[in-house]
């Protein structure tokens, strides 16, 4: 460091000059930012795993869902165009964070939607929070975004690990299944889900006899399944999602684990249910924020979605649609795309669309709404390939998500 000081010194002088100039221009800009739209348009970035493990549950069709919301809103807001851009984060935090930084710092993106792998969302949130840009988390599950790392700019929309664990674990405990084993996706989301579920199990008198951590994107689950088999558990819970859920459940069936213990998926998207033999997944009970065949409004929207994409809509797709719509409404109401003002408005007005029922965006950024406990139909009960679930009952929002945690205390 010491031998080469000349150039850096010169560099830093220049840097100081430049940064002063930059600061002045930033100050000038932010004075104007309180009203009106930056760059004369609203730009929404959709960041998701486009073709990997989580590709089917959000992916490209989350971009479609966001575009549907933009179209339903009329394609423009305050007389200015709405633009949607998208990128593939491949479930890698470095890719997601670099993309978000580029979008926000040099391309004028106003908000980011999609956001599936919790690891990526954590990295993106750091960039977005500092720059005061809202993130509409439609696909990710970790509850850290409304607890430990909460921020005024996080809107956690579709579901979280608390709602999943409460919705799915409790009824099984009540039916007398007390010994649990977890096969867990080895990153932020899986750890959070296993942690919350373990809390519920133990406080209800159950025990967790073991857990196996499988890397994201594992395709051969045989050794994890064997660990579960020798644990003697009543319930083997899969704390993973997407293709990981599909592969681990298939692996369990191949080795006969599903004959020996009750298999339960803690996070199951409709696209995954559809990808598995009805013989294997039939009768499983799970928690979801959306099912297309719930009422006329959801059916009408789902029909448009299927016509457009050819894929079955998941709760992430529906959530991406709903959050975008609510975000645009807030811009219209406040007359600005300034992150702080828009987020305040999103919290002031209750979301109300085909997805969000009895909904409110809580102060900590948690979207609280009615969730559903469903039973997967057996093959003989299905009238068409998308006829997957029977809604057994509705879980009111405050029961599903619980009370706000004191950990989150931003102003």
């Amino acid at each position: 460091m010491k031998r080469n000081t000349n150039t850096p010194k010169a560099g830093f002088k220049l840097a100081l000059h430049c940064s002063v100039a930059a600061l002045m221009s930033v100050a000038a800009l932010s004075a104007q930012a309180a009203t009106g739209l930056s760059d004369n348009k609203v730009k929404i970035g959709v960041l998701a795993d486009m073709s990997g493990t989580y590709g089917d549950l959000c992916g490209r069709h989350c971009v479609d869902a966001v575009n549907m919301a933009v179209e339903d809103f009329g394609g423009s807001v305050l007389g200015k165009p709405i633009e949607v851009v998208s990128a593939d984060d491949q479930n890698k935090p470095d890719l997601g964070s670099a993309k978000a930084r580029e979008w926000i710092e040099s391309e004028g993106v106003d908000a980011i939607n999609g956001l599936v792998a919790s690891s990526v969302v954590g990295a993106v949130a750091q960039v977005a929070n500092v720059n005061e840009k809202p993130i509409l988390i439609s696909g990710a599950g970790s509850n850290t975004f409304t607890t430990k790392t909460c921020s005024p700019f996080n809107a956690h929309w579709t579901y979280d690990v608390v709602a999943l664990a409460r919705g799915t674990v409790k009824p099984l405990m009540d039916s007398g299944k007390k010994k649990w084993f977890f096969i867990t996706a080895d990153y932020a989301f899986g750890h959070a889900l296993e942690g919350v579920a373990t809390g519920i199990i133990e406080s209800n008198g159950g025990t967790v006899v073991g857990s196996a951590r499988a890397p994201l994107g594992t395709t051969d689950y045989s050794s994890f399944v064997l660990q579960a088999m020798s644990s003697g558990a009543d319930v083997v819970a899969l704390a993973n999602a997407g293709k990981d859920f599909v592969n681990s459940l298939k692996g369990a069936a191949e080795f006969g684990l599903n004959q020996q213990a009750t298999m339960v998926g803690l996070l199951v998207f409709a696209s995954d249910t559809k990808a598995i033999d009805a013989d294997i997944i039939g009768d499983m009970r799970l928690t979801t924020g959306f099912y297309w065949d719930r009422d006329d409004a959801s059916r009408a929207w789902a029909k448009r979605f299927v016509d457009r994409t050819g894929a079955i809509p998941t709760m992430a797709h529906a959530g991406a649609y709903s959050s975008t719509l609510h975000y645009l409404k807030a811009i219209k109401a406040t007359g600005t795309d300034d992150g702080k003002a828009v987020m305040a408005q999103m919290k002031a007005e209750k979301p109300d669309d085909m997805f969000a029922r009895n909904a409110a965006l809580r102060a900590d950024g948690r979207m609280v709404y009615d969730m559903y406990q469903v039973r997967v139909k057996k093959g003989s009960e299905r009238s068409n390939p998308n006829d997957l679930y029977e809604i057994e009952h509705v879980i009111p929002g405050d029961q599903a998500f619980g009370a706000m945690k004191p950990e989150c205390n931003f102003k």
Binding site: M1, A87, S119
Partner: protein, 330 residues
């Protein structure tokens, strides 16, 4: 026996003046560039350019293909990230710590591998790097698949706030120039001459009494340290360190940068890094994301089959030919 990759002549003494002028010119371009181009993009380029220069020291000047340099990039990043987050070091100390850690890892790798030759050396370094990859995947302090998030950029010497992209840029530029200077000095020193002698004819170097193993080991440690320095700096720029840097694809990418730019030349890795980073930025994130691999693969095949000197190597060859031809003419 010895692995000899056909090399380009390193800058001749008479070219040295020219090289210095070129370097000064490039430095001034470097100083002004962030006013035109998005600084984060430039910083990414500089980090990879340094990484490639470090790698080139082994491949270009010793003639050994390491397929495990990703381990050093990641080690620099993780150790710096950890030190910055937990000990509140200033960034220049953070980078120093990361660089040292990579140097130590380089020593361990080198001890295990420099006696192996050619493809064996490549395979052993690759496998060692994979061991490091899995270690970082499992270790708690790295955050595993989540990556190490929220690494603070800090304040340089406790004074200059690096959260400003421009300040950060000039810091990265300084680090790059320092690294480049180290490579330059290493190559143009008696030590560098011995390395080249080993590359050209190892048995002869042995018979001249040089302890070849130690020379190779020292070169490997310097190379690893500089790769670590690149990783440390990169972790600060992106405020994040992740497994991508430790993955063997990264080791492959740096081979590509060096091969494409021209191995065994001073500027080759810089040019190669510029091209590769430009291509991957162009395609990143979009629908065409997977084209990156196809294009990189095609460049590899093309370079190996018919462009082994790389961009700078070819350029030097053409220049040298014209230069000498005109002299003959007179």
């Amino acid at each position: 026996m010895t692995t000899q990759i056909q090399m380009n002549a390193v800058t001749q003494p008479r070219q040295r003046g020219l090289t210095l002028i070129l370097i000064l010119g490039l430095i001034s371009v470097g100083l002004l560039a962030p006013l035109v181009v998005y600084p984060v993009f430039l910083m990414k380029f500089l980090c990879f350019a340094l990484f490639a220069c470090a790698f080139n020291l082994m491949l270009g000047f010793v003639g050994m293909l390491s397929f495990g340099h990703a381990a050093f990039l990641a080690t620099g990043g993780y150790i710096t990230g950890y030190a910055m987050t937990h000990f509140g070091l200033t960034p220049e100390l953070g980078v120093l710590v990361g660089t040292l850690a990579s140097a130590i890892l380089g020593f361990v790798f080198g001890k295990l591998s420099v006696k192996r030759e050619g493809i064996y050396f490549a395979m052993v370094t690759l496998a060692l790097a994979q061991l490091v990859f899995f270690f970082y995947l499992q270790a708690d302090f790295t955050g595993g698949e989540n990556g190490m998030q929220g690494i603070p950029r800090g304040e340089l010497f406790g004074l200059i706030d690096l959260n400003d992209n421009l300040n950060m840029y000039y810091f990265v530029l300084a680090v790059f120039l320092l690294g480049f200077f180290v490579v330059y000095r290493t190559v143009h020193s008696p030590f560098g001459q011995v390395l080249k002698a080993i590359r050209e004819n190892e048995p002869r170097a042995v018979s001249l009494g040089y302890s070849v193993g130690n020379y190779k080991l020292l070169a490997f440690v310097i190379s690893a340290a500089l790769a670590g320095m690149a990783g440390s700096t990169k972790a600060l720029v992106f405020e994040l360190e992740s497994l991508t840097d430790a993955h063997w694809h990264m080791s492959g990418e740096v081979v590509l940068m060096t091969l494409l730019g021209g191995m065994g030349t001073l500027f080759g890795p810089v040019v190669g890094a510029a091209i590769v980073i430009a291509i991957s930025t162009l395609f990143s994130g979009g629908e065409l994301g997977n084209y990156i691999h196809i294009i990189m693969g095609a460049i590899f095949v093309m370079c190996v089959l018919s462009f082994r000197r790389g961009v700078v190597g070819e350029f030097q060859r053409v220049m040298a030919r014209n230069f000498s031809a005109s002299r003959v003419g007179k």
